[in-house]
């Protein structure tokens, strides 16, 4: 009796489980259906991601160029400048966003400040290294021709350091594209927002699509900057210095 009852309940469970497996919707990692149905969301997230990246790198570059030049012209400032940058770089983005959030609020400003900070450090390092790597003979020749410090910097050293600076911009852009996703912490993470939504609703296709778009964006930005670097400094193959 008891045995048959046990077998009965056990047998009764199987159809339920099979039924659940059958009714549970498929949850593929890749789905073109998702892309077509959520085109608007994807475009919005992608454009948010792209504009944030460009804005951050542009602001960082505007700040890093004079700072890098200053560190180069006044070598005594180079140590503290790069050192401070290094310490800031050690602070994780999550912590930086958390420290900024109470003041700058939840949203774009906080993310932008964080992104600019990290891009600034990458750029500063590359600019300082690039300017220091200018051939001393070239510098001597310019000085021998009577170039002053400012003219030397602007017309000789900066153009010579251009490949290294472009390499820095590429590096900063690619890392910024990846870093934007951390903006979910304060609710403004571009494609990261979609990843987080996909995680919460267990929607695999949403996570994977956002991830692939992120990688594609980084790749496209890198290629465009590489081509731009070749165009503005055709005399040298833009090599990665740092």
């Amino acid at each position: 009796m008891r045995v048959s009852a046990g077998a009965g309940t056990f047998a009764g469970m199987i159809p339920v489980r099979a039924l659940r497996a059958a009714t549970e919707p498929a949850n593929p990692w890749l789905s073109w259906d998702y892309v077509t149905r959520n085109q608007d969301d994807l475009v919005r997230a992608l454009s948010q991601h792209t504009t944030l990246t460009f804005q951050a790198v542009a602001i960082a570059l505007v700040l890093a160029l004079p700072l890098g030049a200053l560190a180069h012209v006044r070598p005594r400032l180079a140590g503290p400048l790069v050192g401070t940058a290094g310490v800031l770089y050690t602070v994780p983005s999550v912590a930086l966003f958390a420290i900024l959030a109470p003041w700058t609020g939840i949203g774009r400003t906080t993310v932008l400040i964080g992104l600019v900070t990290y891009a600034l450090l990458v750029l500063l390092r590359n600019i300082v290294v690039g300017l220091a790597g200018v051939d001393p003979a070239v510098r001597d020749a310019a000085r021998g021709l009577g170039y002053g410090r400012m003219r030397l910097l602007l017309t000789v050293e900066l153009p010579n350091a251009l490949p290294a600076i472009v390499a820095g911009v590429r590096l900063a852009t690619v890392t910024t594209v990846a870093l934007v996703t951390v903006g979910v912490v304060v609710g403004y993470g571009g494609l990261g927002q979609l990843m987080f939504r996909g995680f919460r609703s267990r929607y695999h296709a949403e996570i994977m699509t956002a991830t692939l778009l992120c990688l594609a964006l980084a790749l496209v930005c890198d290629l465009v900057l590489y081509a731009a670097g070749r165009a503005i400094a055709p005399w040298s193959r833009a090599g990665r210095t740092a």
Binding site: P92, A101, C214
Partner: protein, 227 residues
Amino acid sequence: MDVVSDALLWLNDPLNWTGRRGVLALAGEHLLISVAAVALAAVVALPIGIWLGHRRRGGAVTVVVANTSRALPTFALLTIFASAGLFGGSATTLAVAIFAVPPILTNAYTGVLEVDADVRDAARGMGMSAWTSLRRVELPLALPLIGAGLRTAAVQVVATVPLAAFVGGTSLGSLIASGLALQRYGEVLAGGVLVAGLCLAVEGVLAGAQHALTPRPMRRRAVRESA
């Protein structure tokens, strides 16, 4: 500022430091995950990097690995692993370990690769086998760079683990995640300061350890590559 006093108040409450979800327990969990992730990455990356460097091949592979990992957002990998059915701790460890591979791999590869060719020749000329030369000559010379790679990876891991709090991992980042969810910005600020402090402390301790463990004549080489 109101938030600052909130944060100080929160930090001054002993109840927030002890207990199962206290700062100390969270920091312990944070470090535990970090150690596991670095160990996991080292087990995979060290042999490959050392072998490739020894054979003087595979430079392109290490560059591709390093560049891809730069473009791939950590957050993407965390959400992918977390929703693929891994539990908080293991998903975090695995995702973070993957990002610890490139610095360890690249530095091990460069370290062994850059051993002076004359030194290698001398070792072989003394009758050492390739294996003995690797073990007794190349590895000791590459150690400063390998150590620098492990340090970079460790600092990066400690900095990345808090992010996992948003997909269910437990660490000091949990303070930030729960604080943001409950709109308790004092707690958020305290969490941010604690995470930043932990990272700077780990960086400082490891820098000191590396300096102490590196033989004096080899210190310059390690410093040059540690950035």
